[in-house]
Amino acid sequence: MKKVVAIKEYCVACGLCEVYCATVHSRYPDSVLKAFKLSPQKPVSRVFLEKSEQWSGGIQCRHCKDAPCIAACITGAMYRNRDGIVLLDEERCVQCSTCVIACPYGLIKESDMGGRKVLLKCDLCYQLAESPTCVTYCPNEALIWVEEGETL
């Protein structure tokens, strides 16, 4: 299974991964401007730019083989699709946040969408033909889309 890998040596900490992730998951996936200007709530990203003095990188759900979030999910909303991608079925989700607690990496986040709590996690843009949006738009190729175990 292909994964997104962050190369900390080349992350410029710009945050464009977040901008484009938020856009592609918004009502206006083709326009950053519309996504941010016309969406009723500010679009939110499922990739998170982590920054420290020493390093930075866009990180997102690891899609663990043995995913604790699936095990923890009380409604079965968290599931793995045929390609191995861990997805959240928002219809079935009751926003109990058990998965948030279960995730060892802290990569499922809660967000307030106009008074409504939603849980955000990376879906690897599985509906797109190309690489995940954060990878496509990373301006310094610091996010790459590679087979697991592939050497860089």
Partner: protein, 499 residues
């Protein structure tokens, strides 16, 4: 505190209709020209900090940003223009020597743009590089005197640098530029079959695998020079001078001397790296010979030793002396040559155009019958493949590019290299900024640039009916001058257009 009379140079134009407050600009500006205001919950501009490097403009996902000149009119004065007044304020406030980065930006004539190339029509055919071979391979190094040593070709020649394209990346030291910049240059040069020059700051250990395609520099500061590095390198260059600041040394400020730079240069962390104006073992031409041969002895005569000088008024005689001192390559750096930092008045007022220096030196060495024995490399303001072709027709063997290579890597010519806060990750040692040059992308961009020039050069050569670059070398009949006076034509050794 007395009020500062300084005015902002640039105005950050933020289109509020387009700004989505994503703060990418804030994240990217090392100069803090964009600030996230917690109270206003919006990005605000600190125009005075802006250096017009375009990092934010390029990164803004909604094209909401544009940088303009800060337009502040002064009362019209053809003598005391705004720039002169502002510089006077700056010096009155600081007491400092004006410092600037990159090459001379004054409107001196660019002679490359007054030269026109020939092409074949009817009396001989042009050659199509898409179908026919056109050779750009060039060898730099000492050649024996043909009359005195007619059977030299049967033996091993003195060492030569083999270039697949007559282009090299000129000296930019580690310290002045980032390690990722060096990585990009080294990898690109190796892929292109050319050489890159590591500059006077030594060669970082991570780049040792690129040594065969690396020219290391011996400058007055002798940074990073030791026996094993000399032996490892593909070529050695003694740096006497630099076109951007002839007669002047260089100071790499202590804030750029971080751990890796300090280790590579063998100087204490955080201390200034000072290259004095002269080499203190070279106060005369015979001393240059001494250094040349100390390097040849050190490398068992297996390395090419070049000498780089700034183009100055008496350059023809100087170059002749350098050839006779035993240099294998003479590098002439014209007054438009780039730099990480130079005193402004020096950069803008000292030296010679590379075009004149080249023409004068090539002619002089021919008159003395020694042009064939030494290679001539020209540097300083070469912008494109046509400049290169013209340089070769004037008499150069190869050219160095520095600024053009940096622009390929993302440099936007803001001329603030000396601050160490290069937003494009080039002229900086700040780790978060250094990351901005991804050497993989950098290498590709440099390779693309040179390959595109390579094809353009072949097109121009083919048009002239020439299928090997050596047949253009010094072929001044292929040039005609436009808009030049008789003396300029004479110095360049070319005819006027229409003649």
């Amino acid at each position: 505190m007395a009020i500062s009379l300084k005015l902002p140079e640039f105005l950050v134009v933020r289109d509020k209709e387009r700004c989505i407050e994503c703060q990418v600009c804030v994240n990217q500006c090392a100069n803090e020209a964009h600030i996230w205001d917690q109270d206003l919950e919006q990005v605000v501009s600190n125009d005075v900090a802006c250096v017009n490097c375009h990092r934010c403009v390029v990164y803004c996902p909604t094209r909401a940003l544009r940088i303009e000149e800060w337009k502040q009119d002064f009362k019209k004065n053809a003598n005391w223009d705004g720039i002169s007044i502002k510089q006077t304020y700056l010096q009155a406030e600081s007491g400092g020597t004006l410092l600037i980065g990159m090459g001379n930006d004054k409107a001196y004539p660019i002679y490359w743009d007054h030269l026109l190339l020939n092409a074949s029509q009817v009396t001989n055919p042009s050659i199509d590089p898409l179908r026919e071979p056109i050779e750009l391979r060039t060898y730099l190094g000492r050649k024996p005197d043909l009359l005195k040593n007619p059977s030299a070709f049967r033996e091993e020649l003195p060492p030569q640098l083999q270039l697949e394209v007559p282009v090299m990346f000129s000296a930019m030291s580690f310290g002045s530029v980032s390690l990722n910049t060096h990585r990009s240059l080294a990898a690109a040069a190796s892929e292109l079959g050319i050489y890159w020059n590591a500059g006077e700051g030594g060669l970082h250990e991570d780049l040792f695998s690129y040594s065969p395609k690396t020219i290391v520099q011996v400058a007055s500061g002798r940074f990073g020079i030791n026996a094993s590095m000399l032996k490892r390198a593909g070529g050695i260059e003694i740096k006497i001078g630099q076109g951007a600041k002839p007669g002047i040394g260089g100071h790499l400020p202590g804030e750029k001397v971080e751990e890796d730079v300090s280790r590579t240069r063998r100087i204490p962390y955080g201390s200034d790296a000072i290259s004095p104006a002269p080499h203190h073992d070279i106060y005369s031409i015979e001393d240059l010979r001494q250094l040349i041969y100390s390097l040849k002895e050190a490398t068992a005569y297996e390395r090419v030793v070049g000498v780089k000088v700034a183009a100055v008024h008496n350059i023809a005689a100087i170059a002749s002396g350098i050839a006779r001192a035993g240099a294998d390559i003479i590098v002439l750096d014209g007054f438009r040559g780039g730099t990480g930092a130079a005193p402004l008045r020096i950069r803008d007022n000292v030296g010679l155009p590379a075009e004149f220096a080249l023409a004068a030196v090539d002619q002089r060495l021919r008159e003395e019958g020694i042009r064939n024995e030494v290679s001539l490399v020209i540097a300083g303001g070469i912008r494109n493949s046509a400049d290169i072709i013209k340089a070769i027709a004037l008499g150069a063997d190869a050219i160095y590019i520095g600024t053009a290579a940096l622009i390929a890597l993302g440099c936007h010519m803001c001329q603030k290299c000396y601050t160490g806060k290069c937003n494009w990750g080039i002229a900086t040692q700040q780790p978060d900024l250094v990351r901005r040059v991804n050497p993989k992308i950098g290498r590709e961009r440099l390779v693309n640039l040179v390959r595109s020039w390579e094809h353009e050069m072949k097109e121009m050569l083919g048009g002239m009916g020439i299928n090997a670059i050596e047949s253009l070398r010094g072929n001044r009949l292929m040039l005609r001058g436009v808009g030049l006076n008789a003396k300029e034509l004479e110095i360049l050794g070319i005819k006027a257009a229409g003649e």
